[in-house]
């Protein structure tokens, strides 16, 4: 009997794709874990985290053409920017605020991504501001008749901001090539989803005249599938899509937050059972793309990469204090 096609084959992904996706997820996770250790050791001032979000981020961003499509990320998008090409070293340099930090050369907190080459647009701290900007970049693609797509992401809390609705509306009115990715991790700092979100986020898209889909955000292939459809629609000129990836934040909001004040340990444990990386590993084992040996090998490579990144970043210089006075205005 002929073997039925696997999920990834049906999606047009080969083994190389799967390994790249897996590596990006694992690299982001391990880097993130190391950042917390550095913070608890007093070597890093601030950490914000992507743990639990790796599938949602990698599944969506794997559809991008780095350096062509635009990404407007939010502060949890470590795995997303990893997939586009930012390295552990980049993340560590940013964590420690060093001059070589590609995002801001030490001007912004960690998690405020930027790369002109990768078309990751400089990110801000105020929640939700990226959405109108993203639709503007999508409009530019559309006006020039190019097939670029803009991916913009945020948490469910950001859908409470007027900017989100203004951008959704404009994207719908003008049928813009933009993919809205809401990473719904059930909390905005301490405020739970039921106090934040009326009705369903995904269903709101209908009111703006385009499709909205809710997807299991811990299943990287499921997110990839809906995002592939969304990117395809956008590239074909069919307009925006909203994706609500339902997931969970496994850490506190940030290194300054104590989440014991607002959620039960048991709840976190339940979600740990659904860890997107373990889940993907199981799939990779099932389809024979990964075995214990290969897993160990990747794991060791990643550990070495992070060790090197920490060492490099700690030794790297800060920018001179006077550099804080520079690059306020662009020169013609």
């Amino acid at each position: 009997m002929e073997k039925t096609r696997t999920r990834h084959e049906a999606l047009g992904l080969d083994e190389g794709d799967l390994i790249r996706m897996y590596r990006a997820m694992l690299l982001a996770r391990r880097t993130d874990e190391r950042m917390w250790i550095l913070n608890r050791q007093g070597r890093a001032a601030f950490v914000i985290s992507c743990q639990g979000h790796e599938a949602a981020q990698v599944g969506a961003a794997y559809n991008m053409r780095p350096g062509y499509d635009y990404l407007y990320p939010y502060y949890r998008d470590f795995a997303m920017t990893t997939v586009l090409g930012q390295s552990a070293r980049d993340h560590l340099l940013s964590l420690l605020g060093k001059k070589e930090d590609p995002n801001s050369a030490g001007r912004q907190m960690p998690g405020h991504f930027s790369s002109r080459e990768l078309r990751i647009v400089t990110a801000s701290a105020p929640v939700g501001v990226q959405y109108p900007q993203a639709v503007g970049s999508a409009l530019a693609f559309k006006l020039r008749g190019e097939d670029g797509v803009v991916l913009v992401s945020g948490g469910e809390g950001s859908t409470s901001e007027g900017d989100w609705h203004e951008a959704m509306n404009f994207a719908g009115v003008r049928r813009l090539p933009v993919v809205f990715l809401v990473q719904n991790n059930a909390y905005a700092i301490s405020v739970p989803e039921e106090l934040q979100v009326a009705g369903s986020i995904a269903k709101r898209a209908e009111g703006y005249g385009f499709p909205g889909v809710a997807v299991d955000g811990n299943d990287v292939l499921a997110v990839y599938e809906v995002a592939k459809e969304a990117f395809g629609r956008a590239r074909r000129g069919e307009g925006p899509t909203l994706i609500e990836a339902k997931t969970y934040r496994l850490t506190a909001h940030s290194s300054d937050d104590d989440d014991r004040r607002y959620r039960e340990r048991e709840e976190i444990e339940r979600w740990r059972q659904k860890d997107p990386i373990l889940r993907f590993e199981r799939y990779l084992f099932e389809v024979g793309v990964l075995d214990e040996e290969k897993k160990e090998e990747i794991s060791a490579q990643i550990k070495a990469e992070i060790d090197e990144a920490v060492e490099y970043a700690e030794a790297a210089p800060f920018a001179e204090p006077e550099e804080a006075l520079e690059r306020v205005y662009a020169e013609a």
Binding site: Y72, Q108, S114, V121, P132, L143, G148, A167, R327, V328
Partner: protein, 328 residues
Amino acid sequence: MAVRNLLQAIHDALEEEMRADETVLILGEDVGRAGGVFRVTEGLQEEFGPDRALDTPLAESLIVGSAIGLSVNGMRPVAEIQFADFIPPAFDQIVSEAARFYYRSNGAWNVPITIRAPYGVVPGGALYHSQSVEAYFCNTPGLKVVAPTFPKEAKGLLKSAIRDPNPVLFFEHKRCYRLLKEDVPEEDYTVPIGEAKIHREGEDITVVAYGLVLHTALEVAKKLSEEHGIEAEVVEPLTLYPLDRETILASARKTGKFLAISEANITGSVTAEMAALVAREAFEWLDAPVMRLGAPDIPAAAFARPMMDAFVPDAARIESAMLELARY
């Protein structure tokens, strides 16, 4: 030379820049088909089509935010805020976003956008069609704030703003739109951002003003010269942030007497910065206390005409301030 009023000069600058550079586009509420509520953008949609004279939804944060996104993806948008009074919903996109993109990305992402905002008291405008909000933006590094008064400078400054690689706020006084006409060059020219203009040379006092009150100050200066032989030097800052400190200081040092006038609420207005500058940097040249004239600290401006008129420094108040300073 063409004889143009302020409104026409601004229109011409937009039209010429759109012809010269296909990445320039205008967006805002009613700017397209209607040609703007003041008719500044009239005819642009006919010439350039609905994509380059683009009617947006009624959402100011979106207008500025999407302009930012357009600009980082290769376009040169000019965003219109229908009235300066409605700029607060876009405040975050201007102050936290456009102003900081370049700095926070260590020079990787700049934001070449222009934001036009008609401001100032007009009859019938009342509390929400009258405000002078420029000071809100004049302590935000990364922004440039310009406010020309005469057609000629407005045209050249708007071209500079559109070509500038930074976000520029462009304030247009509504009551100056059709107040007077002057010769405006037809060939391409720019007026540099960051340079003040001396409209009238004088030895006795320095008056710095912009917007409607600049016109009034110039009339009063003429009158004082004819009736009292007092020669006022009248300076228009043109750029409110960053200020042309050198021109302002040079004039203050020359005359030794300094008055700054604007129509904004007096406390914390741009004239306060000028006063502080002159008090510190021209102290040894001064023969009188630094003076300021502005609107009282009440919301701009009441609807009923007598109350409205009391808000803006008028010729009588400006004349008495200038006389007081000259005679000090």
